[in-house]
């Protein structure tokens, strides 16, 4: 029953930190909250015995992307926003829609999915890196290469966009 306790804790922390990210005025603090959320999600992956993904999550997401975010925030030295942005019509609608989506997803989740077995049959078969690697490099070889190219293009694009043009 250890897994259920871990799940509950991780999910609660994740939700709280997500809300934290949402509400905090300073972008740095919301970035930190997001990093915490990512760690919780990684934890959840572990409960689902997907260790490789959990590690990759921490490495890529928490490590690389959030660092990039923090770096950019530092670069643009964005101070804390002066006041809580005025809540105008668009904000209100946004909030309502968010809740609406939540309600719908939960409703759909409850009705449509119920017929799956409560737990997995054999955790090793799915979680281990070897299984992923075998699949990755046989059936999904082409997408793998595509991703490589995608990342290359993204880097070049980022460099071009952000380069300071000395005209």
């Amino acid at each position: 029953m250890f897994a259920e306790k871990v799940f509950v804790v991780a999910s609660l922390v994740a939700v709280v930190s997500a809300l934290g990210m949402l509400i905090s005025r300073s972008p740095v603090r919301s970035a930190l909250w997001l990093i915490l959320t990512l760690f919780c999600v990684a934890g959840l992956y572990l409960t689902l015995s997907a260790e490789f993904i959990a590690v990759v999550q921490i490495l890529v997401y928490a490590g690389a992307i959030m660092v990039l975010f923090l770096f950019v925030i530092m670069l643009l030295n964005l101070g804390a926003l002066p006041n809580l942005e005025r809540v105008d019509f668009k904000k209100g609608v946004g909030f309502v829609l968010g809740v609406a989506i939540l309600a719908q997803l939960v409703f759909l989740g409850a009705t449509a999915v119920g017929d799956f077995p409560a737990a997995a049959s054999d955790p090793e078969a799915t979680g281990a890196a070897t299984a992923i690697a075998k699949e990755l490099f046989t059936r999904y070889a082409l997408p793998f290469e595509m991703i490589g190219i995608l990342l290359l293009v993204a880097t070049i694009g980022a460099v071009m966009l952000a380069k300071h043009r000395f005209e």
Binding site: K90, V93, G94, L97, I101, Q104, L105, L108
Partner: protein
Amino acid sequence: MDLDLLTVLIVLLPLVGAVLTGLVPLFLRSFRAHKGLLGAVGTLVVAIPFGLAAWIFVQGGSQTHVTSLYTWMAAGDFSVSITYRIDQLSIIMTLVVTGVGALIHLYAVGYMYSDRCFWKFFAYLNLFIFMMLNLVLADNLLVLFLGWEGVGLCSYLLIGFWYEKHKNSVAASKAFIVNRVGDFAFLLAMFILVKELGSLDFGAIFSGMESLSAGSVTAVVLLLFIGATGKSAQIPLFVWLPDAMAGPTPVSALIHAATMVTSGLYLLARLSPLVLMAPGVMMLIAIVGAATALVAATIALTQQDIKRVLAYSTVSQLGYMFMAAGVGAFFVAVFHVVTHAFFKACLFLGSGSVIHGMHHVELELRREGYEGDFDAQDMRYMGGLKKYMPITRWTYLLSTFAIAGIPFTAGFFSKDEILFKAFEFGFDGHTYAWIVWAVGIATALLTAFYMTRSYMLTFEGSSRWPKPSNLHPHESPWSMTLPLILLGALSLVGGFIGLPKVAEEFGLHNWIHGFLVGYEGRAGPVAEPEMHAHVSLWLESALIALGALIAVIGVVWAWRFFARHELGGDELIRGRFGALYQWCRTSYYWDRLYDRSIVRPVIGGAEKVFAPFDQRIVDGLVNAIARIMQAFSWLFGRLQTGIVQNYALAIVLGVVLILALMAF
């Protein structure tokens, strides 16, 4: 020479003249200088047809001859062709048109010699004669209509001949448009005939007219009458004739006295069998004729301008003709057309000669720097001209006697015949004819009075133009006085072709009656109502005596009245009648009535209602639709605010909707 060629020659010669004197000088400017040649060609081209017509008349003008040239319009079984018909009625009218026309052309050579557009004048006159001959010689209503509108066109061109003055061109347009109103009714009559009978030829009309329903006969005759009032200036549509005096005097003489204005009469005479089938309309014709005669006579009494006096006198005499037509005496109407052509043309040419003289006086006055107002046509500046213009004076006097109806002059025979026929028609049971007769007698008196007034104010009494001693008009050249003499003689002799019945006692029958209506079994083109009751002989001679008496009284009374008072006479009359005088002076305010009731609403309506309506509403509607489209495109434009978040909002909204959809 067969009649076909003759007819074509008679009709086409004036057209050739019109082209020679019109188109050629228009494009070859050098030709304009040869006025003598142009005048000669213009006159010859009318005189020769007169000769030809006279030859046909002498040769045996009794049998009818139809010459068809070619099919004008044809569609299925309705077809109209250019055909001319020579019979008694048309030969008489041709003789009048070409005869009087030739004299007037000769007169015009002298009268218009100083005018710059001499060539254009003769072109229009010849074109007019061509159109008039088409009208008179037509064998179907459409060719008659061709002539009908053609003469309307020529009167428009000739009235507006001196177009530099704005009022002349306005008068010309007015004449054409009022004629067009009449032509509108004429067209409708033709449509009914085509719908009922399928053809417009006179032969087809006369043979098929029994099959016409009473309603359509009345409608056709009424519409033709309205058309005739337009052309012959009767009560509703006579307003254009007085203004038509803006044209040169030969034009007034030819068109607005002798020929064009009588075409309405000719139409009724030509379709007399049809008109006789609509007694109701005949009553209307008689009444309108009588009313016009009386009204015009009263107005003529009050006019200062010599040409306007004659113009209203023409309207009055035309009233007499319509009276005759109204009581069924078509041949007498034609007889009066002939005699009227003689003395009225002579009067107009006489007044033209006077105006011509006074014009020279005016030129001298202007050269000597006289600034005061002077009008060559105003009788107030004339007087005592008999000393300077003897021929004009005598011919004018003779024609005045003729129009007044002094015994044994042309007017006496024709006018009294009309009055007698009216009386006899009344005797035959049509009571309205007696009223017409009474009005006729009153008008005869008035006619005698105002005509003698015009003679006295012009030729007798003291000379009233500035500096009369050293400046006075001279007698017109022979080319003007010769026609005067001829016409004067004709207006004396002309009456004897239509002797009254009482003359049969002395073995002299009424020639024109025999010629037109029929003599010993040979029926002429003009119909006549069967008369049951006949007026006894002594009653007829009493009526003739009455007519003569009235004429003499009118002339003598006016003579002595104006001999004593001269211009003062008008003041006396104004004093006695007052408001009525002013009412007549402005011709019963007809012009103002039409202007306010028809012209202004139509033109004003067009400018204030229709044009803006078209501009704003109909066009506005189209532009409005265009603007609505633009509004829509602007509205959609606003949605693209450019703020990314809004788009995100839209996307999420879409997602929510889809999810909601999935739920059901």
